[in-house]
Amino acid sequence: MPNVIEVESLIKTFGAITAVDGISFEVRRGEIFGFLGPNGAGKTTTTRMLTGVVPIDGGSVRIFGHDIQKEPVLAKQRFGVVPETSNAYVDLTAWQNLMLVGDLYGLGRPRAERRSSDLLEILGLSGRRDQKVKGYSKGMKQRLILAMALLHEPELLFLDEPTSGLDVQSTQMILGLLRDLNADGTTIFLTTHNMEEANRLCDRVGIIRSGKMVAIDAPERLKTAIDREHQVEVSFDRPVPAEAIAGLDGVAGASRTGDVWQITTGNPDLTIRSLVAFSGDRGVTILTLNTLAPSLDRAFLRLTGEERP
């Protein structure tokens, strides 16, 4: 089965407010799918419906072919969930939390103990396994939550802002682990605000705005489809007139900040050639020359209506 998650015309309403308005998408086996959107767009509500935490009001969700409403237990058995806020039992130790999760997923005790030891080691919590979670830092709690979600070796992992507010060490540890898990075949559904994270990790991203899905594609294709203009930044060893830069072949627009020219172009190759020729003709030296590809941030802002094209 190529699709792990199949969402069709999904709807969720709260009174008169439609939080999720008929969205449809699929997540393929083995991919990292980024789910992006501004605050209040319906990301968390959608994730909660996908994981069977809240009921759906319309449409359908199938996880590994199991309808999340009709066969919730069979679906939940095959995925793990890492919520944004830690929800381990703070009066239990890390080890007790892991054993509890192992029992809830029907793991035998030897397997639960072996997996727990391995995960605590990988996530740098071995030395604190017998400490109550109430004494953990935010980063430690988040790593423990990840360990709890991975204990039963799920084929699908849902993560909601897994690195939000974490230090660099915890962030890198978690992102590295996600890459390794994906390389081993785990499908990952990642809800995030972090464009850089989505850009680096995800095979495809879906962008939701006001409860509707506005785009689904690979980050690179999405960026170039939404924003075809590249930016070229150039600086010279002495001032050059604006009209000379604006008149070069390939240049769609130019503005200057300090001694750096920001040039907008639909054809970066032609623009660079023009700039080099200009430099030779005028006898000015190029000090710096950078090309900036369209960013996922800009694509996101345009799609979510927070920046005008």
């Binding site: 069977g52 919730p72 039992y89 809830l104």
Partner: protein, 251 residues
């Protein structure tokens, strides 16, 4: 292993019960409450009701102890878990709402039985003869399930503030004690009092305990047991059905 099978869900309910006992019941204040409550209730009964026979007093005491302890913690577990967001963890795990409710009930039942055993030891220590031990044991088991089911019903309103639930719980529990033949024997009640008493599961349990200690009873013992079993079934089924509806509103 089929995780959705009834047997597997019951096993997972037991896992939730063990978690409840560890997280909510094995706490200093809860244990102290569990030990001191029957002792203080006994003193209150003993000092305030010298004119009543000891068997009657101990029967009422056992009834109150099981009733109060089985409904003491269980109503607050759902609000506590909702507040701490651990309920969301359980909701995302492969366990049904029914299994979560059953797990909470099992923990509450065991706590109620454990504390009631202390009260029974006090009664036996005072030289009260136990005439029908098996009936008493069976009655305690069914009544503990019944009262735990009632406790879970009290937890249905989808608030995550335990104080709200505890207030509602107190409002319901105390009037029940007064109509259940604990302070006034059923034989001395007026007709309207008896009608009210018949609506309370505590009445039937108190009657069973009186029978076990003194051989005296108002209803036939089988009626008492059947009534308790019926209440237990109704409370459990209603709690499971209503929690299924209200749980998403806590999350």
């Amino acid at each position: 292993m089929n995780p959705a099978a009834y047997g597997e869900q019951v096993r997972r309910a037991w896992v939730i019960a063990r978690k409840d006992i560890r997280v909510y019941y094995l706490k200093g204040p809860v244990l102290i409450f569990g030990i001191f409550m029957p002792v203080f209730l006994f003193l209150a009964f003993f000092l305030g009701g010298r004119q009543l026979p000891l068997a009657f007093l101990v029967s009422g005491l056992v009834g109150m102890t099981l009733f109060f302890t089985s409904t003491a913690v269980s109503p607050a577990i759902f609000p506590w878990e909702g507040q701490a967001r651990t309920l969301e963890r359980l909701a995302a795990c492969p366990v049904t709402v029914e299994a979560i409710v059953l797990g909470d009930m099992i923990a509450s039942t065991l706590f109620g039985i454990g504390v009631t055993a202390i009260t029974l030891l006090i009664g036996l220590g005072l030289g009260l003869p136990l005439l029908h031990g098996i009936v008493l044991g069976f009655g305690i088991l069914i009544a503990a399930c019944c009262f735990s089911g009632l406790g879970m019903l009290l937890a249905v309103p989808p608030t995550n503030l335990p104080s709200n639930i505890m207030m509602l719980s107190t409002l319901l529990k105390f009037p029940l004690v007064f109509i259940s033949g604990i302070f006034v024997p059923l034989e001395q009640m007026p007709a309207w009092g008896l009608t009210l008493a018949a609506c309370s599961p505590l009445t039937y349990f108190t009657d069973v305990v009186r029978y076990a200690f003194s051989g005296v009873h108002y209803f036939p013992v089988m009626v008492d047991i059947a009534a308790l079993a019926l209440f237990a079934l109704v409370f459990t089924a209603a709690a499971m059905r209503l929690h299924r509806r209200s749980m998403p509103r806590r999350l």
